[in-house]
């Protein structure tokens, strides 16, 4: 091990260049992973904020929030399905928000409105300031904290789309954006008022929302409850919240794209590390022969290469983590960037693994070096 460390110290130049390459690759990967996490949470926040175990959609709409339409009366029937502890209707509208009653282009921002039954599943989690609307109130809402960057403060009034119904902001909810836009959370009645104002074509005789948020009794199997729901209700498709998120348009594709890039980057990393150690092993083969002749075992020498690979990978990852945090902190807030500790740890682990594998590949080369060549022969 001492030999390994001394070599790094005394051959700083070459190890530094590979170390910096590794560090930059790690910055790239950590940045990608954090952007993906930012995109993921920005797109799915509202769904996760519903804090429901299951979501019940209209059947045959591919779990599309907007195309799904479920009668609010189904909530009562859902509650009586065995394994369901509570249910609530959720309505969704997607459009623009503004803070002044007159439409001023500068004032417009994209916003979706989620209507829910206060006190029932579908009520947003993660309230960070103020309060949530109460069941007996109308014209009040809590908004995603993201809207602060659009200039919305507690006590302000916002308007949705073409409606001139003022909604007073009484609270901020964190991590509840939908498709990277802030969500306005209002009671179902207020949501219906907005629906009538801006989407009259969607209003029907029976009261309808877009989906049901379902809480499952503790200990019950969510999949079984989903099945029971769909046989107890008519024409519905119940899925877990995680499945609903995976079915969001583009969500899985986006993951796949990012993870493919990350995978390719690791392939490149593996190649860089493998080639580096193959090269320095080749370059040192005479020296390795000498060390073997004076008693070093292949195992000692491989361990030394392994130690070197970790001495490269670990500082490179830590340096990259620090650098990425700095870059992340300097990013404008509208760029999606979320530090997902678990994903970062995975990146660190992958870097270490890839480095160790790359280093291990030089084992064969080391083991084939014949110590007998060390003696006499070299000059003749």
């Amino acid at each position: 091990m001492r030999l390994a460390w001394k070599e790094i110290l005394r051959r700083r130049g070459r190890f530094l260049s590979v170390g910096i390459t590794l560090l930059l690759i790690n910055v790239l990967v950590l940045f990608l992973v954090s952007q993906l996490a930012g995109l993921d949470s920005g797109q799915t926040g509202a769904i996760r904020a519903l804090d429901a175990d299951l979501l019940t959609f209209d059947a045959g709409v591919d779990q599309s929030l907007f195309r799904s339409s479920v009668p609010v009366a189904a909530v009562q029937r859902a509650r009586s399905v065995s394994g369901v502890s509570d249910a609530g209707a959720v309505g969704v509208l997607f459009g623009t928000g503004r803070t002044q009653v007159e439409v001023v282009p500068d004032d417009l921002f994209d916003m979706s409105v989620f209507g829910y039954e206060p006190g029932s599943p579908g009520e947003p989690a993660n309230l960070v300031a103020g309060r949530l609307p109460r069941a007996d109130e109308s014209g009040v809402g809590a908004i995603d904290a993201r809207a602060r960057t659009d200039g919305v403060a507690l006590g302000d009034v916002v308007y949705f789309a073409e409606s001139d119904r003022p909604i007073e902001i009484v609270g901020f909810v964190e991590d509840s954006s939908f498709q990277l836009q802030p969500t306005l959370w209002v009671g179902l009645d207020t949501w219906e008022e907005l629906l009538v104002a801006v989407r009259p074509e969607r209003v029907s005789d029976d009261q309808r929302a877009n989906l049901l948020a379902i809480d499952v009794e503790s200990g019950a199997d969510p999949d079984a409850v989903a099945q029971a729901l769909d046989s107890g209700l008519t024409h519905t498709e119940s899925v877990t919240t995680a499945d609903a998120i995976a079915a969001l348009p583009g969500f899985s594709e986006q993951r796949r794209t990012f993870l493919t890039i990350v995978g390719m980057t690791y392939l490149a990393t593996a190649i860089v590390i493998t080639l580096f150690f193959a090269l320095i092993t080749l370059e040192k083969s005479e020296q390795i022969g000498i060390l073997k002749a004076i008693g070093a075992r292949t195992r000692d020498l491989t361990a030394s290469v392994l130690a070197q690979s970790l001495l490269l990978a670990i500082p490179a990852f830590l340096g990259a983590a620090a650098l990425t945090l700095l870059v992340g902190a300097a990013l404008p807030p509208e760029l999606p960037f979320t530090v997902d500790t678990q994903a970062w740890l995975t990146v660190g682990l992958l870097t270490a693994t890839v480095s160790v594998i790359g280093a291990l590949l030089s084992f064969r080369r080391i083991s084939r070096i014949d110590p007998a060549n060390a003696i006499g022969g070299a000059g003749d």
Binding site: L3, L291, I294, G295, A296, A378
Partner: protein, 225 residues
């Protein structure tokens, strides 16, 4: 009566097989006792390095017996041979062959690492050897900043590090001028005798024979005493 440290009996070595087979050594028998320094002379290709490598457990003979420091070397496993070389044999190579990024002291220390000598003890030995070999002033220099003679003395120090039974030296003066070469061989002879080691030195240079106790000649793989 001193002990025989190196005994080879009818050792033969054939490299390759079939058409490509080369017989490098034919039934070579040598013996060497404690404190004895032997010169191995012979023309190029006569089998000197091959014999040295067999004694040093770097090569296994095709046939014959080899006993070094009481061990039947031919029966050692590959792993045991590494340990045997680390503890029993000190090599000095023609090309100095020091680790380029280690200092003089570290090049000596590294040998102790392979023989599992405790670090503090190894440090003490290095300090003693550096003094004895006149290297104390350059202990922290890397090989590229040492003269040829200093490098070869570091190599001798490395060979002596683990207090081996046998010192094997292959053309130690090939890369040195006559004066330096003579000094190095003189030093080697002194170290071998004063420490009661057995030493074998391969050389082309007949003048170096003066420093040894005995000369063995090889011709076409056959030893003539």
């Amino acid at each position: 009566m001193t002990e025989q440290v190196v005994v080879t009996r009818d050792v033969s070595k054939v490299y390759g097989s079939g058409h490509a087979a080369t017989t490098a050594l034919r039934e070579a028998s040598i013996h060497l006792h404690e404190g004895e320094f032997m010169a191995l002379l012979g023309p190029s290709g006569s089998g000197k390095t091959t014999l040295l490598s067999i004694v040093g457990a770097l090569l296994t003979p095709t046939s014959g017996e080899v006993t070094v420091a009481g061990e039947d070397v031919t029966r050692l496993t590959a792993r045991a041979r590494s340990g045997f070389r680390a503890r029993r044999i000190g090599f000095v190579f023609q090309h100095f062959n020091l680790v380029p990024f280690l200092t003089a002291a570290e090049n000596m220390l590294v040998a102790a690492q392979f023989a599992s000598v405790p670090r503090h003890e190894a440090q003490a030995r290095v300090a003693r050897l550096l003094d004895e070999l006149g290297l104390a002033g350059v202990r922290n220099q890397v090989p590229s900043r040492l003269s040829g003679g200093e490098r070869q003395r570091v190599a001798i120090g490395r060979a002596l590090m683990n207090d081996p039974d046998v010192i094997l030296v292959d053309e130690p003066t090939a890369n040195l001028d006559t004066k330096l070469g003579t000094a190095v061989v003189e030093l080697l002879a002194h170290e071998i005798r004063s420490r009661h080691k057995a030493g074998i030195m391969v050389t082309h240079d007949v003048r170096m024979v003066d420093f040894t106790d005995r000369t063995v000649e090889i011709l076409d793989g056959t030893v003539r005493c």
